[in-house]
Symmetry: C2
Subunit: 408 residues, 2 copies
């Protein structure tokens, strides 16, 4: 008998009829001889409706009260799910963050889980009931309600699975698994059967939206296998698992892209030791994350350098006045911004043992006359910043050139 | 400096604009030098919407899960209220049932408050914040969410006021106080300035809807003065207070009516000792409350008696088959039902010291040719069951004949 965690997102519980389908599916899993814990998101659209109410009252709502409001979405869907299971002849009860209890830090609207008590969940499944845990929510040490940020129910699912030692965490979604790249722009994109935590973490960080980054981090840390699959079909999806070596001779596992970053170009910085460190130190103090960084090489001490880096577009508005102030302070001549950029990345464990992958990527892009504006790499990924208009072309060309379109 | 509890019902927080009005009002009370605790209901219509969702899923929803869903209405309105107060420049925080904490018994959908911890509320007001407590909800000893039944926020208000030793509990509503009778059917109805707990309790029990019965019971037990007033005007409303003697020479304080009862008439019961006790014992076992009871007097042991009593119309459907079974068991010839009845009542502390009030009531009704079908009395009230078509006539005539229309 296995203990299985099944997490259903907002689309999967988006109507009463869909809630019934999930209830039947969970009961089928239970009747096959398993203990079942469900994690549910709010019905699709509900979180936005609730946050809209708060914004109607005040322009910059207090984060603590936002969480009190937002958490009701999952509170309602977990109770409706318990009712739907009962209506199908099963037994179930809803469990909220403060009931489980899911203890988080105090960072309202983006809290991180610290500990999860398993006893209420165990008590529930031991009675033959399905435990329906409200996703996305927890409580801080004072008992205030917190939420985990967008996609936080994935994190609840994996963290609960880790806490109770579940066999696996099934993440049900509206696609049937993790793809080698976005099928909407690349017709040869293929569902991946099995991928390592490390690769999934890079893909999620680089723009693949199928799993929340934090949930993959927790799964990797505690070794919880994740099964990403469709709530609308019975087929196997993608298993995200621990892999020490790349599978066979697959070098690149997937191609990701992210339009969320903007390029900042600071022209004519004094080329003195410490100036650039000073610049990024000051930006970091403002809690603005900088991603790709390039500093131009200069010919001598009298020449001025250029610095390019990227920040997320959502940070750019509040970052702009500050960046300009810092740039002025270090004697820069000018600051330019470009939001029409995309970061295209290839990810794969195989890069560790295969040389020349980055060079191959640059050649492929060059072959399409795509200019690379910035590069960043890690052990298992290479990212290139290019003009946004080349997004589809670059993704399709890289995907097929690295052999991702063919079945392994 | 006083500590004041202000409770606002669903109509008073029915829109964002109304929530803002309440926020301003609470802040004005605070700025006048008081500590303020708000109790809020769900926005009007919200509780019905939520219960509708549950009923869409299943015909007879589990009461525990109903409460999880229903309690979100107050959760949202309390947080919105805290945000509105902040938006007006004040400080506030929402407190839910499990945060306060409001401990209840385990009777889901109609729980009774056992204890309320004051510490979180005190911590909040001590910081200069307005504590916004979600009405209608609590938790049982296992931490499950419970609700207090319709109108339960009144009870939260009075119970919180008792627990923290508040100066008074102000109940804001859409009328400007308690009336001598329903102004919709009696134009000479007059707002009462001051009424005793006992009289208010009888009026609430006999059909006046302005306060939940349970809230008056708690106010009486703990001596918490209640001020019922309008959320749409500044005027004084009605004070519900401890009174040992009737005010001046007012004998009758108010006239109430209740169309919620149905008459059951059991014809031809054997007139043996114990038969009637047996009948009502069996009905009580089924948790059906019986109100007015009349047993006809018989001439001798061979004659058969008739028994008349009333039950609430909502109980009648499930009670009918059972009543007929019991009636058959005690040899009754026939059972008749009449739903076209109304219970009209006069209430007043002055009845304790004035004889002949009941007789005067009967004479007044007889004077209008209204037949009395059943009577019940207590120390401070007389109720008559009459045909429903006479409701308005009876109420108006009694109201004016007992001098309630004139200003004291």
């Amino acid at each position: 008998m296995a203990l299985i965690v099944q997490k259903f997102g907002g689309t999967s519980v988006g109507s009463i009829e869909r809630i019934r389908n999930v209830a039947r599916r969970a009961l089928a899993t239970q009747r096959a001889g398993n203990d079942v814990v469900l994690i549910v998101s709010a019905m699709s659209g509900e979180t936005n409706r609730l946050l809209g109410l708060a914004h109607e009252v005040t322009g910059v709502p207090d984060a603590r009260e936002m969480d009190v409001i937002a958490s009701t979405g999952e509170q309602i869907s977990s109770a409706l799910m318990a009712l739907a299971i009962q209506n199908e002849g099963g037994q179930a009860r809803s469990l909220l963050g403060h009931q489980v209890k899911i203890l988080t830090d105090g960072a309202f609207t983006k809290a991180r889980i610290k500990t999860i008590e398993g006893s209420k969940i165990f008590d529930t499944v031991r009675k033959g009931q399905i435990a329906v845990v409200a996703g996305f929510q927890g409580v801080n040490e004072h008992g205030d309600i917190t939420t985990l940020g967008r996609g936080g129910s994935d994190t609840t699912g994996v963290a609960v699975a880790a806490a109770i030692g579940a066999t696996a965490c099934e993440i049900y979604t509206d696609v049937d698994g993790v793809y080698t790249t976005d099928p909407n722009i690349c017709p040869s994109a293929r569902k991946i059967d099995r991928i390592s935590f490390e690769e999934m973490l890079e893909l999620a960080s680089l723009g693949a939206k199928v799993l929340q980054i934090r949930s993959v981090e927790i799964a990797m840390k505690y070794g919880v296998p994740i099964h990403v699959r469709s709530s609308f079909s019975e087929g196997e999806g993608t298993w995200v698992v621990k892999e020490d070596s790349a599978l066979e001779d697959v070098v690149v596992a997937g191609v990701a892209y992210d339009k969320g970053e903007a390029r900042v170009h600071i022209v004519g910085v004094e080329d003195k030791p410490g100036i650039v460190a000073d610049l990024f130190g000051k930006i970091a103090e403002k809690n603005i994350s900088v991603d790709m960084i390039i500093q131009s090489v200069t010919a001598g001490a009298t020449e001025r350098a250029n610095v390019t880096f990227t920040v997320t577009k959502t940070d750019l508005v509040r970052a702009k006045p500050f960046i300009e102030e810092v740039a002025k302070g270090i004697g820069a001549r000018e600051v330019r911004y470009d939001e029409d950029v995309v970061k295209v990345s290839i990810v794969g464990l195989g890069m560790r043992s295969h040389a020349g992958i980055a060079a191959k990527m640059f050649r492929i892009l060059a072959g399409e006359n795509i200019n690379i504006q910035a590069i960043s790499t890690s052990e298992i990924k290479v990212s290139c910043l290019i003009a946004a208009k080349y997004t589809e072309l670059a993704v399709r060309t890289l995907h097929d050139a690295f052999g991702l379109g063919q079945k392994k």
